[in-house]
């Protein structure tokens, strides 16, 4: 259908195919047919049959019934088909849209090309979808990484938890970025709120502890040491914590604190120390454990005790331990060495004297028995006590009263007597130099202190203790430890002077030591010169018999000296003589 010139030009601008639907059998074309519409419509053709019109478009074949229904059911309005493209019809890039229009019973079908609009719209949509896909891809990758990271974190956390290793990560601003679950177990506090807060505010440490940790953080990694601290827990128990300060290997501005609960270890260590120490005695050998046991049994029983052992074995320490564990703890402990004192002097010391009772007695004097009233009198080297004093002592022990020299009035005393000797009192009884009745009175309870050579396993423990003491005394704190070769030398020596000798050995070694370790060469000369024959384990009874006979020959039959040469106590030496069948004649040959 031809239209007037101005309208015709306007329609051209719309670049649309406009068809007026006269009836279901006849379509009238308004204006010109656009070049993009493939049909057999010839220029100037004003009408066409519907089937012919849609025969080349599968889309219009589908849309036309829909449009016809719309025309029949509506008086006005539009029904758009939506965009479509038929490569076989209009090419890949040409998108069309059909619109069914009804207005005042006039029906139209308008087909427009959206090619030019889609040139701008399509890339936008394409970009939006590509971005969406890329974003999704990225999100998936991040989710995957996050899941992996979470898995690794969970694994590491599980391992840390299993190891009971508490860990806190701190950033450069002192803010906690991570706290392992074990932190909660260690401190008994909720760690959920740790992250994001300042570490000094969340860890239950004192200002001093915090200062120590900060001090370590300020040091280079290689120079840091652990901070060990004790924390008081609410339940009145103590927590022993060791804090290791490390740089985060990924970012040195961040810090990792490893918090190790050492409470159990410290408790066990204390138990071990407890087993290795008893009062001031040191030693964990079976002989010493046996001694500790006996001290605990004897101490509470209010009877005299005889302490036997070689010189330097620590007899007075045993007496002090007995005192502290006895019912007389808190009462006086008075010690007197009986060796080298004359009868009168020892008598005066023990029992006191009256003014003028002997030359020089210018005033009344209270003796040690009276001084020890209610407590303990420790009589060291009782084997050296003169017989006359032994007699008086026996009476005091029997009667519980003393008479000062120059007086006749007895004084009641309540004193428990501990006696000690390095001699064999039984031998002395046999030879008449010690009263048997006194012996029986003072050895109601007996304790034997083994010589050091009979408890060599205690040498390292004693050495560490004496090393520490000597280092403090000599102020040589740069000497850090005992070298293995020095320890080997100490272990091989037969220690005739026992523990006392070992103690003085360390004082000597510290004075002579110039390096960080005590070397064998720092030890006294005699320690190196110990004859191996007397310290090596005996291979057979025959060898021991020969050794004893050799020692007797060397000492010209003097048994005490022979025993000392062999590193044996006299009682052991005599017992071995008897067991090996060495007769007195053989001894003196």
């Amino acid at each position: 259908m031809s239209v007037e010139a101005p309208y015709s030009e306007i329609l051209k601008l719309f670049d649309a195919l406009i068809v007026q639907v006269d009836s279901v059998t006849q379509y009238r074309i308004i204006g010109v047919v656009p070049s993009w519409y493939p049909s057999d419509i010839s220029p100037g053709q004003s009408s066409i049959e519907p089937l012919e019109f849609v025969q080349k478009s599968f889309f219009l074949q589908c849309f036309l019934p829909e449009a016809e229904e719309f025309w029949q059911t509506h008086n006005q309005g539009t029904l758009p088909s939506g965009l479509w493209s038929e490569p076989n019809l209009v090419g890949d890039e040409n998108y069309l849209e059909a619109t069914a229009l009804v207005q005042d019973d006039q029906r139209y079908l308008i087909i427009r090309s959206y090619q030019s609009e889609l040139i701008t719209l399509q890339p936008v949509l394409q970009k939006a979808r590509e971005d969406h896909l890329a974003h999704r891809h990225e999100r998936d990758a991040h989710k995957h990484q996050l899941a992996e990271s979470e898995q690794i974190r969970d694994d590491v956390t599980a391992v840390l938890d299993h190891l009971e290793l508490a860990m806190v990560m701190i950033d450069e601003n002192n803010v906690v970025t991570y706290a392992s679950p074990t932190v909660r177990h260690v401190f008994g506090i909720d760690t959920q709120r740790f992250v994001g807060r300042l570490w000094p505010h969340v860890l239950p440490l004192t200002a001093e502890h915090i200062r120590q940790v900060q001090e370590q953080r300020a040091l280079p990694e290689g120079r840091r040491t652990s901070v060990v601290l004790s924390l008081k827990k609410p339940q009145k128990s103590w927590l022993e914590i060791e804090i290791e300060v490390h740089d985060d290997p990924r970012d040195c501005r961040r810090t990792i604190l490893f918090l190790k609960d050492r409470t159990e270890i410290e408790d066990l260590r204390r138990q071990l120390i407890g087993q290795a120490h008893f009062e001031k005695l040191i030693g964990k050998s079976p002989a010493m454990q046996d001694l500790y046991q006996k001290i605990q049994e004897i101490a509470p029983v209010d009877v005299p005790v005889l302490i036997e052992g070689e010189t330097g074995t620590g007899k007075e320490l045993v007496a002090q331990a007995l005192h502290r564990l006895s019912t007389r703890k808190g009462m006086p402990f008075v010690a007197l060495n009986c060796a080298g004192l004359t009868d009168s002097l020892l008598g005066s010391q023990l029992f006191g004297h009256k003014r003028g009772s002997f030359t020089g007695a210018v005033s009344d004097h209270e003796g040690f028995f009276e001084a020890a009233e209610g407590g303990i009198l420790f009589l060291d080297e009782i084997g050296d006590m003169p017989l006359t004093i032994q007699t008086t002592l026996l009476r005091v022990l029997q009667e519980g009263e003393i008479i000062r020299l120059g007086e006749s009035r007895p004084r009641k005393v309540d004193v428990r007597v501990f006696a000690a000797t390095h001699q064999n009192l039984q031998d002395m009884v046999d030879t008449g130099s010690f009263r048997s009745d006194l012996l029986y009175r003072i050895r109601v309870a007996r304790l034997y202190l083994p010589p050091l050579r009979e408890r060599r396993e205690d040498i390292p423990l004693l050495s560490e203790a004496f090393f520490g003491q000597a280092r403090a005394v000599t102020s040589k704190h740069d000497v850090r430890e005992i070298s293995p070769d020095a320890m080997q030398t100490l272990l091989q020596y037969h220690w005739p002077g026992n523990v006392r000798e070992l103690k003085s050995t360390f004082e000597y070694a510290l004075i002579h030591c110039h390096g960080p370790h005590i070397q064998s060469s720092d030890l006294p000369q005699e320690i190196h010169g110990s004859p191996a024959v007397f310290v090596s384990p005996r291979s057979s009874t025959r060898d021991e018999r020969e050794e004893i006979l050799a020692a007797l020959e060397q000492t010209r039959g003097k048994r005490v000296l022979a025993a000392k040469l062999l590193g044996m106590s006299r009682s052991t030496f005599y017992r071995r003589l008897s067991e090996l069948g060495i007769s007195p004649e053989e001894c003196s040959q």
């Binding site: 088909s81 479509w84 493209s85």
Partner: protein
């Protein structure tokens, strides 16, 4: 000799965006594949002639744009369809949800016509997020469930032919 008649059948390609509908049609119609993603606007109509069990069939393939937040599928595109391929991207499990929505739309618009469930991008199987038990509901009503790859051509021909055969069977009943 009398020329055999051709039966024309409309098949809609339905699925979320970028599941590979256009690529599947292109592979089926031209045997080609392009790695470049080219989004579809509206509907793109293609055709392919087949001979199925001695019946000449012209499949008119309506490659409907992928549904997403930007475009919702127009029900009018689906009208008159004899069947459809419901497509899922094996590497994106969320395309199963879109497939379920489109399946509902298809039922409302076309009725219970045959459809094939196509799980595409089998060439990226290592990256698949979709497991068979996740689409049992969709598979139970489908005439065919197939894992395909427009890139390799795996399962493409089979999906169309099997759906066409099912559509023919339904139309004879």
């Amino acid at each position: 000799m009398k020329e055999k008649s051709v039966i024309q059948k409309k098949i809609c390609m339905l699925g979320g965006f970028a599941v590979g509908k256009t690529s599947l049609v292109k592979r089926f119609v031209t045997g080609q594949f392009s790695e470049k993603y080219h989004t579809t606007i509206g509907v793109k109509i293609d055709q392919k002639s087949l001979c199925i069990d001695s019946t000449n069939v012209l499949l008119v393939l309506w490659d409907v744009y992928g549904e997403d937040d930007f475009q919702k599928v127009r029900a009018s595109y689906l009208q008159g369809s004899a069947g459809y391929l419901l497509m899922v991207d094996g590497t994106r499990k969320e395309t199963l949800d879109v497939a379920r929505q489109l399946r509902t739309l298809a039922l409302q618009t076309m009725g219970p016509v045959p459809y094939a469930l196509v799980v595409n991008k089998h060439d990226l199987f290592e990256s698949w997020q979709v497991e068979p038990e996740m689409y049992q509901d969709l598979a139970s009503q489908a005439c065919l469930v197939i894992e395909s790859s427009a890139k390799t051509g795996e399962g493409v021909e089979l999906a169309f032919v099997a759906l066409a055969r099912e559509m023919l069977k339904v139309s004879k009943i």
